[in-house]
Symmetry: C2
Subunit: 214 residues, 2 copies
Amino acid sequence: MFNQAIAQTHFGEILMPADASEVLFFEGDPSEYVFELRHGIARGINLSADGDRQVTAFFFAGDQIGLPVFPAYRFTAEAVTSLTYVLHSRTRWHEALIRSCRDQGCLLPSISTEQDPMFRRGIIVGRRRILTRICALLVSIVDRLPKAGPEYAGVCRFPLTQIDIADYLATTPETICRGFRQLRERRIIAQPARDMLIVQNRALLEAIASGAAQ
Amino acid sequence: MFNQAIAQTHFGEILMPADASEVLFFEGDPSEYVFELRHGIARGINLSADGDRQVTAFFFAGDQIGLPVFPAYRFTAEAVTSLTYVLHSRTRWHEALIRSCRDQGCLLPSISTEQDPMFRRGIIVGRRRILTRICALLVSIVDRLPKAGPEYAGVCRFPLTQIDIADYLATTPETICRGFRQLRERRIIAQPARDMLIVQNRALLEAIASGAAQ
DNA sequence: CGGCCCATTGACAGGCATCAAGTCCGGTGG
DNA sequence: CCACCGGACTTGATGCCTGTCAATGGGCCG
């Protein structure tokens, strides 16, 4: 991966690139570096002994992942899209933590950017009906999806495969496909292309996500 | 609750008691205090807009919950059994964090005692088959359950109701009941009383939990 | 153009939710 | 000491949601 362009930010940080489905770090490896996403989308993966694959989180630009709250990474991080990131050594990250703790009297806000998505995923997967889970996932990520462009108001890029969504929601790709079809037929979302998403009826989307509507 | 006995530990900390099903703190309240459990079992509760109740974690003696990684508590904490705990103010907890960070070059280990159970719950609930989930839950807590007594080797106190277990595993009490019956009939566990548990075949329990066996 | 992976659709079976009784157990009060 | 009561647990019958299997379609890349 080092044969690709490695840019230098104006803070002297090294901006690293990664291709889609490239691994940033493996579950179980010692957590030497914090990965700060600058651009693109990443996913957290956990494999069970029987080969069951779970996507435990999606991460977006600005998130810091691989925090050394544990001596080893608790999940494998892979690029969903091509992305860029910046590395922070464990010790440098610790110093930033102490500074923010002392100066602002609070923890580094970034400490929750990793565990918060996982916490919310637990709540989402804990719902029974698949449509509720799908809508809850969409609500939780739609505001962080990149916009398709200035000329396409309300249209988001949606680069997640249905396989990833299924592994996130603890179901199958077929069921995801049927759920999305239902949302399209009810004019709650639209998909002008496979990797495009428009939320047409956000109120109803959130109502289904909260369980108020079926 | 202050009319109950409040003991003083030899460190000058105040040991607080709580009765079963008493609330320690509410989701959304500002996280002023960290609760360190000294004895007993607690549960984390999250309610959805439609009234759906989820148990997002069980906590045991030694765990610290309500950490100020977020300005507000992210779940409601209730006592499962009668329990005791010690309060740490947010600032005092921060100081301990900075000290451990500087002296030992690592974060306070307790920072993971709260998020780790939630992370593991996500993995458990993400499994499809109910029996797998039940066994995974048992494996994850059996070593932290209090022993029934020196004269009962291998017997644990098991004070969790099937309702709590069902809300933890995203299923119903009836299904939990049938799952436990199956585990009893297969001699994987035994329950001499409703609130007692013996793991008779731990290897098989773990095999089912991992998905290797059905 | 061919191959591959992903998405789609249908048929079918099965696991689990739901509903409804009935039982057990601990606690309370007479 | 015993009757009562409420909550939790148990068990069975039933139906639906969703997993599974199989086949097809479609887009992307070499």
